[in-house]
């Protein structure tokens, strides 16, 4: 596998096209297409993204904060907004669940899109250059990962004031570490491979070796990490919001579960059900999809 990609890398420098080999990505895509569960899960994830987008555009579940029924009105099938009943203020739990989807997807996107580039860049620099730079970066992430994330988050929300920004910063500052570790390890392995040495002897710069030659060969780790981190961010939001250091003022699954803590004793189960089921389905989809991606993109399996 590596020799194949290595060959195609060299060829691009010599601008002489080789017969199209099966790259890791093409092979992975071919395998994934055959995996029915993976396709279903990808569709589920796409559905959640769609819901979040429609909610962001105010096309569905808007406005969520108006009274649509009695306080704690039980679920009924008469209208979509009452499918999951109403909360203490008579607001539609269905709308809150949809808005919570938007909150969760938003957190997942912000955290992954910011932390993955940080992890990739710092990890690849540490692995590629080695020496004091490597030691500094490793020291930095070992230090950060030695502070329990919940404490780091509490400390950050204390320092910056509670709310969603503090949560973003806290989640980003811990979630880039996993990516950086993987990238560092891969770059250490790859930097002495023949194709990199070949690129070097052709006069490739460090920048070009890191981003044009090595990175494409380890890029499948980014996709794997993306699905894991996205799921992790969604789960963290719920726990942190529940502990009082997360999302405030807008509906989120964490807020809904927090409300449900006091509602259960009165027999009000719909808010807990809405948030838990919504979260369960997307986490399940990410779990299965993550496994399928790992199998599909594993260069060891042919």
């Amino acid at each position: 596998m590596t020799t194949l990609t290595a060959a195609s890398n060299v060829s691009s420098d010599l601008s002489k096209p080789l017969p199209k080999g099966s790259s890791l990505w093409a092979l992975g895509w071919k395998r994934l297409k055959r995996d029915r569960y993976a396709i279903v899960c990808a569709l589920i994830v796409a559905f959640y993204f769609g819901i979040a987008f429609l909610s962001k555009m105010d096309l569905i579940a808007s406005p969520w904060d108006i009274k649509v029924g009695d306080s704690y009105a039980p679920p009924s099938s008469e209208s979509f907004k009452m499918w999951l009943g109403a909360d203490i203020f008579g607001r539609s739990v269905m709308y809150k669940t949809i808005y919570g989807t938007r909150t969760a997807i938003g957190i997942g996107l912000v955290v992954t899109l910011l932390s993955i580039p940080i992890g990739v860049i710092l990890g690849s620099i540490a692995g590629y250059f080695g020496g004091w730079l490597d030691e500094l970066i490793v020291w930095f992430y070992t230090t950060l990962s030695s502070i329990p994330s919940i404490l780091l988050l509490i400390a950050i929300s204390y320092a910056l004031g509670r709310g969603i920004t503090a949560m973003y910063i806290a989640l980003i500052s811990t979630s880039w570490i996993g990516m950086a570790r993987v990238m560092r390890g891969e770059f250490i392995k790859h930097k002495s491979r023949e194709y990199v040495i070949a690129a070097d002897s052709l006069g490739a710069s460090h920048f070009s070796k890191i981003f044009k030659h090595i990175l494409p060969n380890v890029s499948h780790f980014i996709i794997l990490n993306f699905s894991m981190q996205f799921m992790g961010a969604i789960k963290s939001e719920v726990i942190l919001t529940f502990l009082g250091v997360g999302v405030q003022g807008i509906p989120s699954w964490g807020n809904m579960i927090d409300d449900a803590k006091l509602e259960l004793a009165r027999g009000v189960w719909w808010q807990l059900t809405g948030a838990t089921v919504a979260m369960f389905v997307i986490v399940l989809a990410f779990n299965i999809l993550g496994d399928s991606l790992r199998d599909a993109l594993d260069p060891k399996i042919k």
């Binding site: 030695s146 502070i147 329990p148 789960k235």
Partner: protein, 311 residues
């Protein structure tokens, strides 16, 4: 062994320094004026100045940092702003309840998961294996708060099998309150763990030594319990290392939920009271616990895997 330990502990010093630096920056540099946060908006200038003086906040940052390092080295963390208690006493009182919950819960979870993982990998490819893999994936996708809320509501409130929340400092008495959190802890981690151990053990079964063991006529149970289990110790310890930070999160979650007066509850209370010295100390002390836990597991690693050299 001794040199290994010494090296490992010396290696932890730059990390501890880094943690102290991060904590200091967050609380004393980024965090605005802690004195203002503590006394609130309606304080007089004199009150603020007194607080600043009491906590040494009127000195230059670098001096404050040196003072902080000195306090850390002597385990003198000052007093809580909200309760005026000595923070070191608060930690001493909180660590007992925290460990009474996390250690048994974690040990139980690991033992049960390893046993189930072994059992499931023994029946690999059979119906029991496939069903348990599906159950594991479903189990690990259910939100952890869902388990806790459901367990507290149904098992404690409806069925009255357990107390709903609370704690008793007497020795066997405390377990009456800790039993339900432990069961829920087991439930919410078992899905991930069993699947992880199953994969690790299946990887072992493809190794040459397993083929040799079978070829020399060992029965299948013997192959599993004598060879596969022993060799799976390395991935098992790896997973345990990875899960140590989760112990702290778990203790936060369960302690606030079930009213257990451990380190987690103390920190969440401090957050609600804007109790600056307590949060700052907790951030540092839990990091120390984590670093210490990592050293212990490294030693265990070296003990179970002869390939890890004790250099």
């Amino acid at each position: 062994m001794a040199t290994f330990l010494v090296r490992r502990i010396l290696g932890a010093i730059p990390i501890i320094f880094g943690v102290a630096l991060v904590v200091f920056i967050l609380f004393n540099v980024v965090g605005g004026d802690p004195a203002l946060m503590m006394v609130g908006k309606h304080a007089t200038a004199q009150q603020i100045a007194d607080i600043r003086h009491e906590y040494g906040l009127d000195q230059p940052l670098i001096i404050q940092f040196f003072h902080y390092l000195k306090d850390i080295a002597t385990f003198d963390f000052g007093r809580s702003y909200a309760t005026r208690q000595k923070i070191s006493d608060m930690i001493a009182n909180g660590i007992g309840p925290s460990l009474s919950l996390t250690l048994p819960a974690f040990t139980l979870t690991t033992l049960v998961s390893v046993a189930l993982g072994l059992l499931v990998s023994y029946f690999r490819g059979k119906v029991i294996d496939r069903v348990s893999v599906i159950l594991c994936v479903i189990g690990m996708s259910i939100p952890s708060l869902g388990y806790i809320l459901f367990g507290q509501y149904y098992l404690a409130y409806e069925l009255r099998w357990f107390p709903i929340s609370g704690y008793d400092y007497s020795f066997p008495g405390r377990f009456e309150y800790l039993f339900l959190p432990m069961i829920l802890w087991l439930m919410l981690s078992i899905g991930y763990d069993v699947r992880f151990y199953r994969t690790a053990m299946l990887e072992e079964t493809t190794q040459d030594y397993v083929r040799t063991a079978r070829a020399k006529g060992l029965s299948e149970p013997k192959v599993f319990f004598k060879h596969v289990l022993k060799n799976s110790m390395v991935p098992i310890v790896t997973n345990v290392v990875l899960e140590i930070p989760l112990l702290i999160l778990g203790s936060f979650l369960f302690e606030t939920f079930f009213g257990i007066p451990g380190l987690g509850s103390i920190t969440i209370d401090a957050l609600h009271n804007s109790d600056f010295p307590v949060i700052k100390t907790m951030a540092f002390v839990t990091s120390l616990l984590l670093i210490f836990g990592n050293i212990v597991t490294d030693v265990v690693y070296a003990l179970v895997d002869p390939r890890v050299k004790l250099k």
